[in-house]
Symmetry: C2
Amino acid sequence: MTLTAEELARFDEEGYLFFPGCFSLEEAAVLKAHADQVYAMDREEVWREASGVARTAFAAHTYDEAHRRLGRHPRLIEPVMQLVDGPVYMHQYKINAKAAFDGEVWQWHQDYGTWKRDDGMPEPRAMNIAVFLDDVTAANGPLLFIPGSHKQGVLEAGHDLETTSYPLWTLDRDTVTHLAERGGCVAPTGPAGSMLMFSSLLVHASPPNISPLGRTIVYLSLCHVDNHIRRFKRAEWIAHRDFTAIEPLADDCLRDLVATRSAAA
Amino acid sequence: MTLTAEELARFDEEGYLFFPGCFSLEEAAVLKAHADQVYAMDREEVWREASGVARTAFAAHTYDEAHRRLGRHPRLIEPVMQLVDGPVYMHQYKINAKAAFDGEVWQWHQDYGTWKRDDGMPEPRAMNIAVFLDDVTAANGPLLFIPGSHKQGVLEAGHDLETTSYPLWTLDRDTVTHLAERGGCVAPTGPAGSMLMFSSLLVHASPPNISPLGRTIVYLSLCHVDNHIRRFKRAEWIAHRDFTAIEPLADDCLRDLVATRSAAA
């Protein structure tokens, strides 16, 4: 998978690219089934909402086979290598469940803001990827982006330790309003298997999920190997310290698991 | 405006109809400007969020000229007369602002549940209309519907006096989940001026608005004149007691105000 000149120009302009149906429904279903197994585990990497339901499972690519493969998938790794112009390592891998009824808000933030302040990552030479494991609709708490906001560099932020169960460097309302006056506010929605690729500087958020439908998304944060983090304040399963360049697997690496799963059913 | 056989069949099946761009952007802008004037008023009909921003203005059709006209607009009144098979009166008229950042949730409910329990409305021979005064997107707290849920009659509900500043008879999660397994969960989105018409039995909700974009919607609740309420527990500006049949105005009734506004600008 190679990004076209048009896609590169659009990424530069808006700070994200959206690929609906990047993975097949069968591939998404395998990843979802494995995510459910991960959520059922009693591990420190699995964080829960106030209500007890799973909110985030960190580092599943290190202890689950389907997610190990997704973490090395060429449809994700290759375009990011193209965008950051070189080999990448996995800075963070998380499976975020915005549970039906209970899924909480993520306030407005830039991921690189946290990586710089908490992890000492030198430059925003890093990218985020979101892979939808459920259909993401207007109803179940989609990601909200402010297009073009990645061009503003690192914005001033406050450390929010109160709104939700996950500490986050969040932006104030005036900043978000000002950015949206220029770029608007979009919510890319699409079927399970869709993929979003976005700048680590892009300002984003997601609303609570009050719908009866769950909404699970896998996030990969990929960083150029030369740009690895320098500060080890957070747990190594949140901000990884293995800076080995990822070798992409074959494009059909998840299809094996689909076949295995179908045979077992 | 007359509903076609296909539209009638779809309404029967799903419990709602969506008309994107039913009103022009100019008509929507006039109504929005008048809504802002209404919100600035210090009146008991204007309810506010915990933060102080306006949440709901009731009965603006009785004290604002643009909203007086919308309350008698043929594009709204005529199809509802067709659906309830006879003349209608205005049971409730409200302008709901889901303010940027602050707009709160409306939990899952049926409007007729409240009208029956609180107002003694004999039958669900009444309809809701939503007119979008802003663009409604996946980002700014769209209405969520469970298609087909209007066929279940009045569902058991609890009186929620705590979640938000407006008391509401709300449904439990198991009920909502069960209904969504059959009908799914949709969020009709469209430009300012779009119109939704939905059964007073349709199960609906709307999420908080965490986006930097406001989202104002006018709701008309129209009831067959023979089916008027029998109980006067709520203020008359919330549950109206004037059961006079509405005579629709001409289709261009808002265009006069658009012209006046343009001339003044």
